[in-house]
């Protein structure tokens, strides 16, 4: 029994690893593409955020009030020109290559602010800031000015602060979540879905061709006239497909992990990117991925065996793929993993929940055990179904 299944596994691997094109498109390309695309996206986003940071901007200010002078004078990467502003200078800002911002304060701005009362119904003093949003440097200085002026305006009527951090207390944090929890929360919403998608695409790349394709080409019948038992063929097929899908998934996973530091801006998330997971966490992840890919390969093989040809297999697998993808999206719409153990009997949903819990540092053993055991049982049932199909003349030889 074992040796025949092993012979089938070896043959499937020989087929896969011997086909350089298939190997490249299934294992090397997904990881490589993900790494390149995500890195380019990350670099692009970083460039967008940092572009114009060091470029000098001419800041033309009319009627700069005394109260705001220090703030404006200290604005980084700007050359301050205090002078009356002409309409021509404002019109010149239409040129998006001009690194300039024009600010017009009303005359006697400080006095006007001092004496202003909303109850009088008179319009408040208006500060005009002209800039060009298509010019990153101009836009950056506008954003800084707007923020500074808004802070100044708030300060005028300040009665209380929220989460103030004083100069000597810069280390203080009001968000009590640990850095691990913050990172875990981000990863738990993103990575399980990506893992599921990668594994599925790996299975899809080979299973229909390996089973429906063999039916279509008439090569499965040649196997069926050998003394090998049908369950050996089914087991050999499922195990080899799982192994290849795992490789494909691993390649994609590596692509994600390597490009992640470029995708998540460390400062923006407020955390250092350090994967602080224990050996038990990694073991659970690995076992869950194994059990998931096993059941995925079994079900896709089952559907492929039912299909008349590869094209038909693709059509039959699509609804199943949508269900799996839907399960993958679940963590995005939930704050906690389910506590009821019965929920972990639902295939794919259970894997997603266990992976989510592991990434979020919420993993407990009972759901993990229920998930692993149930997935292995379901895979066994699917392999049994596949065995029946290999033995069914209607399924194997129908046209």
């Amino acid at each position: 029994m074992k040796s025949n299944a092993l012979t089938i596994i070896k043959k499937e691997f020989a087929r896969f690893f011997g086909d350089r094109q298939l190997l490249f498109t299934t294992v090397i390309m997904p990881g490589l593409l993900i790494y390149i695309i995500y890195s380019l996206m990350g670099n692009g986003m970083e460039k967008m955020m940092t572009e114009g940071q060091d470029e000098m901007v001419t800041l033309r200010v009319e009627n700069l009030p005394e109260s705001l002078a220090p703030m404006v004078e200290e604005m980084p990467s700007t050359t301050l020109l205090q002078q009356p502003v002409t309409q021509e200078e404002i019109d010149n800002l239409e040129d998006k290559n001009l690194n300039e911002v024009v600010v017009r304060f009303p005359e006697e701005f400080d006095e006007m602010v001092e004496t202003y009362s909303p109850q009088t119904g008179v319009a408040a003093p208006n500060v005009e800031i002209y800039y060009n949003s298509a010019n990153n440097a101009s836009s950056r200085v506008y954003t800084m000015l707007d923020a500074q002026l808004s802070a100044y305006e708030d300060q005028m009527s300040n009665r209380f602060d929220i989460n103030r951090i004083d100069g000597e207390d810069e280390e203080k944090s009001y968000d009590m979540a640990s850095q691990d929890d913050v990172l875990g929360s981000i990863l738990s919403k993103l990575i399980p879905m990506l893992i599921l998608m990668m594994l599925f695409s790996g299975v899809m790349a080979i299973a229909p061709s390996s089973i429906a394709g063999e039916k279509e080409r008439g090569t499965i019948a040649t196997l069926l006239v050998t003394p090998m038992r049908r369950n050996e063929l089914a087991l050999g097929k499922v195990v080899s497909l799982s192994g290849i899908a795992l490789l494909s998934g691993l390649s994609s996973f590596l692509g994600i992990v390597l490009s992640l530091p470029k995708m998540i801006p460390v400062d923006a998330a407020g955390v250092e990117l350090g994967l602080n997971y224990t050996g038990a966490d990694y073991t659970v992840l690995l076992l869950t991925i194994l059990a998931t890919v096993l059941i995925m390969a079994s079900v896709v093989s089952l559907l492929s065996a039912l299909a008349k040809d590869v094209k038909n297999a693709g059509t039959m697998i699509t609804p199943f793929m949508l269900v799996v993808m839907f399960c993958g999206l679940m963590p995005m719409f939930q704050s906690h993993v389910p506590e009821n153990l019965a929920a972990y009997l639902v295939p794919f949903y259970n894997s997603i929940q266990v992976m989510t819990a592991t990434f979020a540092h919420e993993m407990t053993w009972a759901p993990v055990i229920v998930t692993l055991c149930s997935n292995v049982v379901y895979s066994g049932v699917a392999v049994w179904g596949l065995t029946k199909m290999f033995g069914s003349e209607k399924v194997m030889f129908s046209r």
Partner: protein, 258 residues
């Protein structure tokens, strides 16, 4: 004579789809492909199943090779029942039909080893047998060429070789020369004679009278799933040539149906 194959009351009925009903021009949803077939084959002989297209020859051979299950009856090949011991039966037979294909991606060398492993042939025997068979059929020069790049004739010779990797006692060939060029067809028929001289039993199906006359020791005439005559060529032909005798039998069956 040692009986190596005993077929007893073998029957098979297929359910027709609407499309198949249209093709068959029948309103019946069921088609009796093989009807209570009984015959024997003996060690060291070539037994031919002769019949027109759709007579049930291929269905019979597929049941003997355990690809499909009989609805009733049984066949015992070399002491093993197709209904009860399909794996043992498959280990004792070599089955070849044009429906069985080899994977284009692999080379003859790889495929011979692969199928030998599935038949549990030990490495030394496999190596020795491969060399002998490849040389016999001229495959040795193409041993490392992918099947996809072989000529049609070479592919068919390779299929024949692959079906015999385990040196089976019983060889079942469905239309062995169908679609073959004259040279390959001759190679195949010569090899079948060689196998017979080695004491192997060959069961083949055909609708070619000349093939039956040249090759078969005994023949079974099958029409509409029923065995209408079975025996040595002399017994079946009864002094006539096989073609005339076949049409006489055919008229008898069809006439009695009308």
């Amino acid at each position: 004579m040692e009986e190596i194959l005993r077929v007893e009351g073998l029957s098979k009925t297929f359910t027709l789809s609407k499309k198949q009903q249209k093709i068959e021009r029948t309103e019946s949803k069921r088609k009796v492909a093989v009807d209570n077939l009984t015959f024997s084959a003996y060690r060291g002989e070539i037994f031919g199943l002769l019949g027109p297209n759709g007579a049930g020859k291929t269905t019979t051979l597929r049941m003997l090779s355990t690809l499909i299950r009989p609805d009733s009856g049984d066949a015992v090949l070399d002491g093993c029942s197709v209904a009860g011991q399909p794996e043992e039966v498959r280990a004792r037979i070599g089955f070849l039909t044009s429906e069985l294909k080899l994977e284009d991606f692999f080379t003859p060398n790889y495929l011979f080893d692969f199928f030998s492993q599935l038949h549990h042939v030990d490495e030394t025997t496999c190596k020795e047998r491969k060399q002998r068979m490849f040389e016999r059929f001229g495959i040795d020069k193409f041993a490392e060429v992918k099947v996809a790049n072989l000529s049609t004739g070479m592919k068919q010779k390779l299929s024949l070789v692959i079906s015999l990797v385990h040196n089976p006692e019983i060889v079942i060939f469905d239309e062995p020369t169908n679609g073959l060029d004259v040279l390959t067809a001759r190679t195949v028929t010569d090899y079948l004679k060689e196998l017979r001289s080695e004491g192997k039993t060959i069961i083949l199906s055909t609708h070619i009278f000349s093939l039956v006359e040249r090759l078969c020791d005994r023949v079974g005439v099958i029409i509409d799933g029923r065995m209408v005559a079975c025996g040595t060529l002399q017994e079946v032909c009864d002094g006539m040539n096989i073609e005339d005798r076949f049409f006489e039998l055919y008229k008898e069956v069809k006439g009695s149906e009308e």
